[in-house]
Amino acid sequence: MKEIILIKNGELALKGLNRSTFEDKMIKNIRRRLSDLGKVTFFKSQSTITVYPESEDFDLDEAEIRIGRVFGIAGYSRAAVAEKDMAEIEKVTLDYFSDKIFAYKTFKVEAKRSDKKFPLKSPEICREIGAAMLSAHPFLKVDVHNPDLVITVEIRDREAYIRGNQKKGAGGIPVGTSGRGAVLMSGGIDSPVAAFMMARRGLEIMGVHFAAPPYTSEMAENKVKMLTEKVSKYAGRIELYIVPFTEIQLAIRDNCPEEYFTIIMRRLMMKIAERVALMHGAKALVTGESLGQVASQTLMALACTDCACEMPILRPLVGMDKNDIVELARKTDTFETSILPYEDCCTVFTPKHPNTRPKKEDVLAAEAQFDFSPMIEKAIQNIRFEIIEGR
C-alpha cells in the first residue's frame, strides 16, 4: 500500500500576499529535513502540502516524526493512496485501519471530492465506507458529533487519499522567515528553550557558546553541542560558535569589583556575541534570561547588559515561571541533558554577594578600569565553530 503525508499550513493561511513566500520557505525546510530519507515530491494545493515519497525504501515513520517538528505546520496526517475506484477505496480503507482500529470505539467518515466527475457524491462515499467499516468491525459505532476516529476520504484529480485523525503540528511560522538570531547557549535549562521559542517564531538560529577551560570541561562543551542538536531538530541547521573565554574571565576577576563579576561578564558576552552575530548575518541576540531568576537577571541588571550592545536582545522567557520553562524543556527533550552536572562559564567565578541592583554608571566605571578590547579581539580570532545539521 502506498502511503503519503498530508500537511496543513498553520498561521500561514493568514498571511495574505506573502503567503507563497512563507509556504515556499516551509516546503524548503521540510525538504531539507527529509533529504536523507530518499526521493520525495511535494505538491501544493490550497492550504495542503502533499509529501509524496518516490522511492520504495522511503522511511515514512521517520519522515512523520520530523514533519511533526517543522514550524509553520498546524497539522499533518498520513494517508493511504488508492485508485479512484470505489471498490478499491473500500478495500484500501479496510486494510489501512485494520491494525489500529481497536483503539477506537466510535467513528465517522468524511468525504471531500475535488474531482467532481467521480461517480459517487460525498454523502454516498461516506455511507459506503461507513457500512464497510461497520460490517468488518462490529464493535464500532458511528458518532457524527464527537467520534474517536474521523476517516477522511479525499477524491483528488489523480488518486484518492484515505486518512485518519490529523496530528497537531509544531505550530509557529517557518524558520528563516523572520531573519537570523544568535542565541547565547550556556548549557543550562533556559537557553535551549529560548532558542526553541524564537525558532518557532521563524527565527533562523545560530549559537554562541562561551567556554572557559579548564574551569569548564570538554564535557560541558559536548553538552552544549548535544543541546544544540536537540534544538536543531526543530530549528533546523544551526551553526554553533565556541568562544574561548577563560582569559577574559580571569581578567574580570583580577580587575573588577567582585559584586560586578557576573554583570560585567554578561556585558562582555553580549559584546562578543554581537560581533559574532554581525559577522554571520544575524540581526538579534537571544538569551534565556527570565526576570528576577538570578542576580544578573533583575531589571536593573538586565538594563546593564542591554546597553552593552546595539542589537536588540530577545528574551522570550522573560516573563515565564521556571516551572513553565522546565515543562517546555521537557517537551523539547532538552531538560535531561541540561541538568547534567558540568560546570559552565556562568557559574565558575560566581561572586558571594552579587549586586542585584547595579547602577549602570557604576558598572560602566568598573568595566572601564581595564581595557578588555585586545582580549575580545583575541577571543574572536580564536572562535571555533561547528555545524549541526538538524533533521
Partner: protein
C-alpha cells in the same frame, strides 16, 4: 597518557584477551544448548566459574555470574531482603554510610519502602568502627552490607567482625560484603570474611567490563531479580557471557596479588611523600587505607577544574565529588562537613603498571595547576 584511575577501570590483560578471542571465535555456542558445541561452551563457563570460586575459597556452585559489581550488589541486597520476608516484622538493614552507590541507592529505596535502614557513619578518613556496627545490629536485622575497601577513599572496613556481631545479637541477618575494590588485590576467602554474599567484578582487575559475580554461601537463599530461563540456577537468568566469564577467570589467574601489591605500595608511598610537600594538601585516605587508592583534597581548587586541567595534559585521575551544580559525593560529604575539602577531593588509584615517573608527571602538573588556576571562592 598518565593513567592514575585504575579503580575506575583497567585495560584488559593479554591473557584475558587471548582467552576471549579464542572463545568468541571457536567456542561460541550457547552454553545451555544440548549439542556438543553447547557442551563445550558450558565446559568453558564452568571452568571459569571454578577459577572464580577458587579465588574466593568457595565451591563452584556458590558462584553466580552477573554483568558486574552493580548487578551483583543489587542482586545481593534486594535478593536477601526479598528472601527475608519470611521473618515478617524484622525490617532492619545495617549498612556503611559510604557504600558504593549500587548498595547505597538500593537501601535508600528500601528505606522508602518502609525498611529501617541504619547508616553507620565513618570517621574523617572513611573508617568505620566495629563497635558502631555492634550498636546498630539487633535481633530484627535482616541484612548487613559492608564493603571491604571503599572505592573513593580506600579505607578498609572491619568486615571480619560483622558475622560475629550478627551471631552475638541472635539476628537472622545475612552479611553481604561488596569486595569490588578488594578482589584479587587483598588476600581473602569467603572464610576469612565469613560472609554470606560477596560481590566481585572483572574490570577492576584487568578483565573485561560486563562481567562480575556474586558468591552465595551454600545453604543461604536469596531471591532472583530476573526471571525466565534456567541459567545460574535461576538466580540470574539470561544467556551467560561465556567469553567474558573466561576472560574474568584468565585475569584472575594472571593477577599476581603479592607482586602487584608490592609495586602499588611503592608507588602509593612515593605519591604520598611527594604530595606531602605541596602546601595545603589534606589526605582523605589515611595510612591504613588500601595502597591501591590515595585520596586527597586541595581546598580552594575545585576537583572538576583540576581534573580538566590534568585531562588537558593527558593525566587521568578521578574526583570524589561532582561539581557545584551536581551533588557532592555521598562519601565525601559523609566524612567531612567542610565543603571546600569535599569539593576539592582527588582520587588517585594505582596498578602495577604505574611507575614513579607517572607520579612525577602528575605531581608536576598538579603543582602548575596550583600556580595557574585561580582559587575558588
Amino acid at each position: 597518557m598518565v593513567y592514575l584511575d585504575y579503580s575506575a577501570t583497567t585495560p584488559v590483560c593479554e591473557a584475558a584477551l587471548k582467552k576471549m578471542n579464542e572463545i568468541y571465535k571457536t567456542n561460541f555456542a550457547n552454553p545451555s544448548s544440548t549439542h556438543f558445541a553447547g557442551l563445550r561452551a558450558r565446559q568453558a563457563l564452568e571452568q571459569a566459574r571454578k577459577t572464580v570460586a577458587e579465588r574466593l575459597g568457595a565451591e563452584s556452585d556458590e558462584i553466580y555470574f552477573t554483568s558486574g559489581g552493580t548487578e551483583a550488589n543489587n542482586l545481593a541486597v534486594f535478593g536477601a531482603v526479598e528472601a527475608a520476608k519470611k521473618h515478617r516484622d524484622k525490617k532492619r538493614i545495617v549498612v556503611g554510610a559510604i557504600e558504593h552507590s549500587s548498595v547505597f541507592e538500593s537501601v535508600k529505596k528500601l528505606a522508602n519502602d518502609g525498611y529501617d535502614v541504619i547508616f553507620i557513619k565513618p570517621d574523617r578518613h572513611g573508617n568505620i568502627s566495629a563497635a558502631d556496627i555492634a550498636g546498630a545490629v539487633d535481633e530484627n536485622t535482616i541484612l548487613v552490607s559492608l564493603m571491604y575497601v571503599n572505592n573513593e577513599l580506600g579505607s578498609v572496613m572491619p568486615v571480619k567482625s560483622v558475622k560475629s556481631i550478627i551471631k552475638a545479637k541472635n539476628s537472622p541477618a545475612l552479611f553481604h560484603c561488596d569486595c569490588v575494590q578488594a578482589f584479587c588485590k587483598k588476600k581473602f576467602t569467603h572464610n576469612t570474611l565469613d560472609a554470606d554474599l560477596i560481590s566481585v567484578t572483572g574490570h577492576k582487575i584487568f578483565a573485561p567490563k560486563g562481567i562480575g559475580a556474586l558468591y552465595v554461601k551454600k545453604g543461604v537463599k536469596i531471591m532472583p531479580r530476573s526471571f525466565g530461563g534456567e541459567q545460574e540456577r535461576k538466580l540470574r537468568t539470561g544467556t551467560q557471557a561465556v567469553a567474558l566469564a573466561a576472560g574474568l577467570a584468565a585475569a584472575i589467574e594472571d593477577f599476581d596479588t603479592e607482586n602487584y601489591g608490592e609495586k602499588v605500595k611503592e608507588v602509593n608511598r612515593y605519591a604520598r611523600s611527594e604530595l606531602k610537600k605541596i602546601e595545603g594538601i589534606i589526605f582523605n585516605s589515611d595510612e591504613n587505607a588500601s595502597d591501591y587508592i590515595l585520596n586527597f583534597s586541595l581546598p580552594g581548587y575545585r576537583s572538576e577544574t583540576v581534573l580538566n586541567y590534568l585531562s588537558e595534559r593527558e593525566i587521568c585521575v578521578s574526583s570524589g565529588s561532582a561539581c557545584a551544580k551536581g551533588k557532592l559525593s555521598h562519601v565525601m560529604s559523609a566524612v567531612t562537613d567542610d565543603k571546600r575539602e569535599a569539593d576539592s577531593a582527588i582520587r588517585l588509584s594505582f596498578s602495577h603498571l604505574n611507575t614513579k615517573e607517572d607520579i612525577d608527571k602528575f605531581i608536576s602538573a598538579l603543582k602548575s595547576a596550583k600556580e595557574e588556576l585561580i582559587k575558588a571562592q
